[in-house]
Amino acid sequence: MMARFAKSPEGLFGAAVLAVLIVIALGAPLFFPRDPLSIVGPALTAPFTDWALPLGTDRLGRNVLAGLVHGARASLLVGFAATIAAIIIGASVGTIAGFAGGLVDEILMRIVDAFQTVPGFLLALAFVSVIGASLPVVVLAIALGAWTGPARLARAEVLSLRERDYVAAARVIGMHPAEIAFREILPNALAPVLALSAVIVAGAILTEAALSFLGLGDPNIVTWGSMIAEGRAVLRSSPFLSIIPGLALVITVLGVYLFGEGLAEALSRRRVRL
C-alpha cells in the first residue's frame, strides 16, 4: 500500500504539502511565540518592505506572517477535529442503524435524511450564531453538516458485512449484537470511511473559512478566513491582506484533496491499468 501510494505523484505532492503545514502548525509557537494578534508595528506595512515583518502588517499593525502561521494551526485543527467528530458520529449512527435494522434503522435514517435536506452551511451558520463563536462550537457545527456521508457509508458496509461468516460465528459463540457491531464490523467498515475523510477535512477547512469570513469565527484566535474578512475592507488599497491567506487556503485544501486521492487509489483493490 505504501509502495502504491509512492507511485502517485499527486499523492506525494499532497503528502508533502500536508507535512510542511503540520510542521508549520506545530512549530507556530516556536516561530512566533507572541500572540499573533498583538500589535507589533505600523498599520498596513506592505509586504517585503521590512525584514522584521516579511509579509507586512494588517489594519491594526499585526504581523501577517505570524497570523498566517498561527492560522495554519487553526485551519488544520478545525479540519481534523471536525472530521474526526463527523466520522465518529456518522460511523456510530450508521453501524447502529445497519446492525439494529427495523424501527431503529428507520428512525436513524430519517434523521440522516433530515440533516441531508437542510443545507449544511445554513445549519452551521445558525448553530454558531445561536451558541456563540468559539473553536469547539465551530468544530461541532461543521461536524453536524458532515456526518451523514460517513453514516450512510458505514450502514451500507455493515449491511454487506452482516451476513458474512465471522459475524455469524460471533453470533454462535453468543456475543452481544452491540459487541459484534463495535468489535467486528466497525474496524472493517472503517477503510472506505477513511477514504471519505480527506474530502471532509477539505470541506471543513473551507466551511471554517467561510464562517470566519462572515464574522462567526472565534475572535481570540487567528484564522485565514478572518484574515480575508479583515482584509476585505482594504481590498483595493492593500489586496495582499486578502490574497495571501486566500492562497494559503487554496494550497492547503488542494494538498488535502491530492493526499486523499493518493490514499484512495492506494486503498482501492483494483488499480486501473492503462
Binding site: 499593525g61 456563540g132 463563536a133 464574522g215 475572535p219 476585505r232 475592507a233 482594504v234 488599497s237
Partner: protein, 536 residues
C-alpha cells in the same frame, strides 16, 4: 427660507477641532441648482418600522426624514443651532410648565389634507410621549397640548421641563404624523408606518425589500421651488465593502454613515469625481465607550478601573482604528457639544507603568504566566470600529496582565448578554450623544431602574450623589443652573469611572462631485435634502 439670526452661535469652531480637516471644501462659488434627476444612495439597513415618530433612530431617519418632517432641524448658523421646519417660532415659559410653537402656514400632507396644530397635538400626546424611544423621556411630563388656532400649539407640562432640553430634542423627537391617518388606529401596526405619508419634500413611492426604496418629488412642497431632485433611490447594500465599489462604478452617487470603510477613504478620495466629506454629522456624535460590569469583584475596585483607563492609548485608537476621523474623548460629553462640554475634568494619560502599579496596589499581582486575572470582553457588533477596538483593547489589557477573552455576538445575543443577563465584565458600546445629556447620556450613569434596555446603565453602577445631580438637572428650568449641574456630573463621572469614554466620532460621507449641497447642516444625512441637487 426664513431665517432669523439673533445671536450667531456657531458650532464650527468646535467642529474644526474635532475632525481631521480632510474634507474638501465645496466649491465656494454659488451655482444655480439644476432641477430634476435621480440621486442614488447606498442604504445599509431596512428598518422594520419606518416611522420616525415612533422609532427615532438614524437608520429610520436616513430614509424617513425626507418624507416626514420635524418641527425644527439642526443648523450650523441658526439661533441655538436650529432652523425652522414645521414650526417657525418657539418659546418656553419661565416656570418650565409650558412651551409654545407657532406653526408654518400653507403646508399640506402628501394626500392633500392641510397640516394643522391638531396634527402636532395628536403626534405629541399619542405617539412621541407613549411610543417613541426618546420622546418617552423628553415628554414624560407632557399633560396636554392646547390648540387655540390651527397654527399654534401650546405644550403643557405637569412638572417643570427645561425648555433647553425640549429645544435640543426638537430635530430628533418631533416628527409630525398626519392625525387623520392615525387617529383611532393601532398606531404601532398602522400600514402608514411602512407607506409613509408626511409633509416633506419627497413622497414615499415604492419599497422593494432587499433591493431599494424609491422617493419622488412632492410637487406641493412648502419650500420655495424645492425640492430640486426628482427622485431619491436608496439602494440596499448591506455589505459595507460593496458601497465603495458601487461609488467607483458610478452605480451610486452617495454613501453616508461611513458605508465606505474608513480604510478605503484615502484611496477613494484620490479617485476623480469622488470626494470624502467629514462634515454634516456634528449633531450625531457617536461615542466609543467601555462599559464596565461593577458586579465583577475586580472592576468594583476604582484602582482597577483607573488602571484600565491608563492602559488605553486613545491616540492609537484615533489614528489607527479611526484613521484620524475621530477625536480622543475627555469625558462623557463630547467636545462638539460646547453648550454642555466641561474641559475641566480629570484625565487619564496613556501610561502602562502607572496602570501596572495601580493593579499591584489594588492587590492583583501577576501570576507565573504573567496574568493577573481574566475578564470577558464583549465588543458590540454594530460597527467595524467597535469590533476592532475590541481587538485592540484585548491587546492593551494583555500589556498590563489582564487576560481579556473576546466573545463576538450578533446584536440580539449581545443585547441579551450585556443588558439583560449582565454576563460580561467589559463591553464596548457606541452610544449616541443626542444634543442634550438628559436625552441619552445620563441614562448610562444613573442607577438602573429597568433591565433589558440597550444603551442604558446595566453595569450595576450606583452612585447616590451622581443620581441626585442627574435628577436635579432634569427639572432645572434655568439654563445656567442646568449647565452647571451637567458640568458637575462630568467631573464626578471622570473621577469615579462608571464607564470609560475613549473616543468620539462623526461619520463620513463619500459622494460623487456631481452631487451638490451635501453636508450643509449638522444632521445632514438625516435631514430632508430639499436643497440637494445633482448635475444633469
Amino acid at each position: 427660507m426664513t431665517k432669523f439670526l439673533v445671536s450667531r452661535r456657531t458650532l464650527l469652531g468646535a467642529t474644526a477641532a474635532l475632525l481631521a480637516s480632510t474634507a474638501l471644501p465645496r466649491a465656494a462659488f454659488a451655482q444655480d441648482a439644476v432641477k430634476g434627476g435621480r440621486l442614488i444612495v447606498a442604504a445599509d439597513s431596512e428598518p422594520r418600522n419606518l416611522n420616525p415618530a415612533i422609532v427615532a433612530s438614524n437608520g429610520v431617519f436616513f430614509i424617513a426624514s425626507k418624507v416626514i418632517e420635524p418641527l425644527a432641524e439642526a443648523s450650523f448658523d441658526g439661533e441655538n443651532g436650529l432652523a425652522p421646519r414645521l414650526a417657525t417660532a418657539w418659546t418656553g415659559s419661565e416656570d418650565g410648565l409650558s412651551a409654545t410653537f407657532t406653526l408654518r402656514e400653507g403646508v399640506t400632507w402628501h394626500d392633500g389634507k392641510p397640516f394643522t396644530s391638531e396634527d402636532v397635538a395628536f403626534s405629541a400626546l399619542n405617539v412621541w410621549k407613549p411610543l417613541q424611544n426618546l420622546g418617552r423621556l423628553v415628554f414624560a411630563n407632557l399633560e396636554a397640548v392646547d390648540t387655540p388656532d390651527p397654527l399654534t400649539a401650546i405644550f403643557r407640562f405637569s412638572k417643570p421641563t427645561p425648555f433647553q432640553l425640549i429645544r435640543n430634542a426638537l430635530p430628533a423627537t418631533t416628527s409630525v404624523l398626519p392625525k387623520h391617518l392615525y387617529e383611532g388606529t393601532d398606531i404601532p401596526e398602522n400600514p402608514a408606518n411602512a407607506q409613509l405619508v408626511g409633509t416633506g419634500p419627497f413622497k414615499f413611492t415604492e419599497y422593494k425589500p432587499g433591493e431599494y426604496y424609491l422617493l419622488s418629488r412632492n410637487e406641493t412642497y412648502w419650500g420655495e421651488s424645492e425640492p430640486n431632485l426628482d427622485e431619491i433611490l436608496y439602494r440596499v447594500l448591506p455589505d459595507r465593502a460593496a458601497a465603495a465599489g458601487a461609488l467607483e462604478a458610478e452605480e451610486i452617487h452617495l454613501a453616508a454613515f461611513s458605508a465606505v470603510p474608513l480604510a478605503d477613504l484615502a484611496r477613494i478620495g484620490e479617485v476623480e469625481g469622488i470626494e470624502v466629506i467629514s462634515k454634516g454629522y456634528e449633531g450625531l456624535t457617536y461615542q466609543l465607550v467601555v462599559e464596565i460590569n461593577h458586579r465583577t469583584e475586580q472592576l468594583a475596585n476604582l484602582k482597577v478601573r483607573q488602571a484600565i483607563a491608563h492602559a488605553i492609548d486613545k491616540q492609537f485608537v484615533v489614528d489607527t482604528i479611526f484613521l484620524g476621523y475621530a477625536t480622543a474623548a475627555t469625558g462623557i460629553v463630547p467636545q462638539n457639544a460646547p453648550e454642555f462640554y466641561n474641559p475641566e475634568t480629570p484625565q487619564y494619560a496613556f501610561d502602562v507603568d502607572k496602570a501596572n502599579a495601580l493593579l499591584d496596589e489594588a492587590g492583583y499581582p501577576r501570576a507565573a504566566d504573567g496574568n493577573r486575572f481574566t475578564l470577558r470582553l464583549l465588543p458590540a457588533p454594530y460597527f467595524n470600529e467597535t469590533r476592532q477596538f475590541g481587538d485592540y483593547l484585548r491587546q492593551a489589557l494583555a500589556e498590563i496582565g489582564i487576560d481579556a477573552q473576546i466573545a463576538n455576538n450578533d446584536s440580539a445575543a449581545h443585547q441579551q448578554a450585556v443588558y439583560t443577563d449582565h454576563a460580561f465584565d467589559l463591553a464596548i458600546a457606541p452610544p449616541v450623544f443626542r444634543g442634550d445629556p438628559a436625552i441619552s447620556t445620563t441614562i448610562l450613569l444613573r442607577t438602573a431602574t429597568a433591565e433589558g434596555v440597550p444603551f442604558s446603565n446595566q453595569g450595576g453602577y450606583s452612585n447616590t450623589a451622581l443620581d441626585t445631580l442627574i435628577d436635579d438637572a432634569l427639572i432645572a428650568v434655568d439654563e445656567e443652573e442646568r449647565t452647571a449641574l451637567y458640568n458637575e456630573v462630568q467631573v464626578v463621572a471622570a473621577e469615579d469611572l462608571p464607564l470609560i469614554n475613549v473616543a468620539e466620532w462623526g461619520f463620513i460621507t463619500v459622494a460623487r462631485t456631481s452631487v451638490h449641497n451635501v453636508s450643509n447642516n449638522p444632521r445632514w444625512a438625516v435631514s430632508n435634502w430639499s436643497d440637494t441637487w445633482i448635475d444633469g
